[in-house]
């Protein structure tokens, strides 16, 4: 078994910390990470509670393959009830903190209640201690990281923490680990800060072992690495270009949401693309400095960038003159195309700020885009923005808006509400490009029909990582389907959703699935973990996780009415490109989707489905 079998439970209200055995009966049904932590959350909290009340719990969780040599085996997730959506939140991150938790001997850390004062949790193997964080409160992620390293005098500690945005109540604040990796979506950082919990500091020296069949594990993981290395996307495209490899591709197929999704192609896409990041700048260096790997990752899609010397965003700000986490596709799209800003250096600066203070660049960029549309319509005045001329395409406005939101100051407070609450506040909820209150990622569902259904039904609100049918509809993985038709998309979406839920429960990264099918993943899990983990079993686990999340949301008060898309995507045709004139035909897919999910017409789990999946 590659689980450590240990859960650390931290009651922040009383300060009591206790170890308990992992519920192995649940582990057999939910595997780990996303699935297993959701099961804990489902069993332990009332889904109707206020997400920012002490009654909510926050679970940091690893998968059984986290901390092993399996390629990409370094993922961890933060699971809680989301303050942005009111639905279940599960945000996944790489970096090194997840593996460090495992090295220290913990599968999961469950935070309960609310600390009376700011604290952080220090974990060194079996020793765990809550320590005062008054001096860290009000500081950024980067400063917190630096101070904690200085305080503990240990260069090998790993840190996950929240920045000022979370403390100030920004509803899409992230938990940032290792300076520039983030559990980004759905406001998991906001929940963490609401508990007066600033950071997890972790140091593990016990290691991860206990493999069920070590020889078979090495064979299976070596075979998996070979497949990743030989695949064009994971072996060449992602290391060289990162996820940004998609920028020009998606723009060409007319699915690049632009200026708050008014348009579907961005004229400046080539200026903010992966190719542009490789171009030499005036000083001869390119924006992209190097690629970088998360723990155990043999793909290494991470971007490490610098901002051009003398750029207006970093004048007299030496802390941004060095290298740090660069633009990935979702950030480049949300901060760039959706706001109409085509200056690569400004976007890199804004991305740095998102890491420095822990905000989700997708939700943030999309919220700025909505605010820009309201500003251009005259609904938001320059007085309200505090003097920012919030026009589409203004790099200066974007940079200023980011600084304010990151620190929770001035108009940044309002931007921190997210697109839906901001648009409601100004009387135009129809201009919010969200599902269940969460902002869209970088694929316009008018040009990629299946993604419309994936967004509408994603359990954490609009999300590309819950059912990435782009792989099939655009990239032809595992096989090509027509992005402009709706036939067969219900089945496609369900298949992607179930498979992804299984991968997210294993400790592996979903990016492996550009090359790996379940027949590549299951043998690695099976060689490590007790029990029988065939591809079929993995998909069953994925389906069970999906239904459990759905049931959590239904109990939280969400209904079939929440499985929808904004008016703009259902009624206004795409303005250019291959999908010109098309809307998303969600209603042609949704009933069929409910049917194959084994749900009632109201989108609820049928008794038969509950019995079959033991939910």
């Amino acid at each position: 078994m590659a689980w450590t079998g240990n859960v650390l439970r931290v009651d922040l209200t009383s300060g009591k910390i206790a170890a308990e055995p992992l519920n192995m009966e649940w582990a057999r049904d939910y595997l780990g990470q996303r699935g297993l932590a959701t099961k804990y959350l489902y069993e332990e909290i009332d889904p109707t509670i206020d997400a920012l009340s002490p009654a909510n719990k926050l679970i940091m969780t690893t998968g059984p393959l986290t901390g092993t040599m399996a390629a990409t085996g370094g993922r961890y997730s933060v699971v809680t009830k989301s303050p942005l959506t009111g639905a279940v939140a599960c945000s996944n991150s790489g970096g090194f903190i997840g593996a460090e938790m495992k090295m220290a001997g913990w599968d999961m850390i469950i935070f309960e209640g609310k600390s009376p004062q700011p604290v952080y949790l220090y974990v060194e193997n079996e020793n765990a201690e809550l320590m005062p964080a008054d001096d860290l409160w009000g500081t950024s992620v980067w400063e917190t990281d630096e101070r904690l390293h200085a305080k503990h005098q240990d260069p090998l500690i790993r840190i996950a923490c929240v920045g000022r945005a979370a403390e100030e109540g920004c509803l899409y604040a992230s938990v940032v680990n290792d300076l520039h990796r983030a559990a980004g979506r759905s406001g998991v950082g906001t929940v963490m800060a609401s508990k007066n919990l600033k950071a997890l500091v972790c140091r593990g020296t016990k290691g991860v072992g206990n493999l069920k069949d070590p020889m078979r594990f090495f064979q299976a993981t070596e075979q998996g690495k070979k497949v990743l290395a030989e695949n064009a996307v994971t072996g060449q495209g992602l290391p060289k270009f990162g996820t940004q490899v998609l920028m020009n591709v998606i723009n060409e197929v007319g699915a690049m949401p632009t200026r708050n999704m008014r348009e579907v192609q961005f004229e400046g896409a080539h200026k903010i693309s992966a190719e542009a990041m490789h171009e030499p700048r005036s000083d001869g260096t390119p924006n992209l400095h190097t690629n970088a790997a998360c723990f155990a990752c043999t793909i290494a899609c991470g971007r490490i960038s610098t901002i051009e010397k003398g750029h207006f965003t970093i004048e007299n700000k030496p802390k941004y003159w060095g290298a740090s986490g660069g633009l990935e596709y979702e950030a480049a799209w949300a901060l760039g195309s959706d706001t109409g800003v085509d200056d690569l250096e400004t976007l890199t600066y804004v991305n740095f700020l998102c890491n420095e203070d822990g905000i989700d660049p997708i939700s943030f960029g999309a919220t700025v885009a909505a605010a820009m549309e309201l500003y251009e319509r005259g609904v938001i005045s320059q007085a309200e923005t505090g003097g920012i001329d919030l026009r589409f395409g203004s790099a200066e406005a974007l940079a200023r808006a980011t600084e304010l939101t990151a620190r929770g100051e001035g108009f940044g407070k309002i931007l921190g509400l997210g697109s839906l609450r901001l648009c409601e506040k100004y009387g135009h909820p129809e201009l919010s490009m969200t599902v269940k209150g969460q902002e869209f990622p970088a694929y316009d569902p008018r040009g990629i029909q299946g993604m419309g259904l994936a967004y509408a039904t994603a359990n954490r609100g609009a999300c590309h990582l819950r059912g990435y049918t782009v792989a099939s509809e655009i990239l032809g993985i595992p096989e090509k389907t027509d992005p402009l038709v709706t036939e067969g998309k219900a089945e496609l979406v369900k298949a992607f959703q179930d498979a992804t839920a299984a991968v997210d429960s294993s400790g592996l990264c979903v990016f492996t699935t550009f090359a790996w099918g379940m027949e590549d993943i299951a043998p690695q899990v099976d060689a490590a973990c007790e029990g029988d983990w065939s591809a079929e079993k993995m998909l069953e686990v994925g389906e069970r996780v999906w239904n459990l999340e759905r049931d959590f949301n239904l109990r939280a008060g969400l209904t079939r009415a929440d499985d929808t898309l904004p008016h703009r995507l259902l009624e206004e045709g795409a303005n250019t490109g291959p999908a010109e004139g098309k809307v998303n035909d969600l209603q042609q897919m949704l009933p069929r989707y409910y049917e194959i999910r084994g749900w009632t017409e109201n989108g609820e789990l049928s008794d038969e489905t509950r019995r079959r999946l033991r939910v």
């Binding site: 092993t68 290691g207 206990n210 290395a229 190097t290 970088a292 998360c294």
Partner: protein, 173 residues
């Protein structure tokens, strides 16, 4: 042929596969904290660098050991720690100029790279070729070839044999 670990930091992505391979081979668990090879991240510079024992010919660690617990493996040239002899005095950790011998509090002994008996796991695990196990006399060969490739090419039109100066090998009297 004696071989050596060749480290090329410019190829490293910081994934730590080498640290896991090393710790599994030596400790039976994936545990970077107990790895004999370490990858360092210089975040602000955007740089990663693997580092481990270079197996010095005149090894400071070996000479400093008061109980002769560090011996040379004749087949691999590795300086190996004999766990049944080592008393954990840590003098070698002071003697090593590079810091590549370290104490392991769990075993009470020191640990250092032993080239896995001639089949180093770190090199096998590295996905980018940043760690390779090559002819000890020619660790610079690839770098020499790369520089050589940048030297000026002979013009295509140059078909005449170049005039040669006959060197005089005999030493001037």
């Amino acid at each position: 042929m004696l071989r050596a670990l060749k480290l090329e930091p410019e190829k490293c992505t910081g994934c730590l596969q080498c640290e896991m391979a090393c710790s599994y081979e030596n400790e039976g668990v994936f545990n970077p904290a107990k790895s004999r090879i370490k990858v360092f991240t210089f975040h602000q510079e955007g740089r990663f660098a693997p580092y481990t024992c270079t197996q010095c010919e005149e090894a400071w660690c070996l000479h400093s050991c008061p109980v002769e617990a560090i011996v040379i493996n004749a087949d691999t040239g590795a300086k190996e720690v004999l766990d049944n002899v080592c008393v954990g005095c840590k003098v070698c950790t002071i003697a090593c100029p590079f810091g590549t011998v370290n104490y392991n509090q769990d075993s009470g002994k020191v640990m250092k790279c032993d080239l896995c008996g001639g089949d180093p796991w770190c090199a096998k695990a590295c996905p980018t070729g940043a760690i390779t196990y090559v002819d000890v006399d020619n660790t610079g060969l690839d770098r020499m070839r790369a520089w050589a490739q940048q030297s000026p090419a002979r013009p295509a039109s140059h078909v005449e044999p170049r005039p040669k100066e006959i060197a005089t090998y005999s030493r001037a009297q």
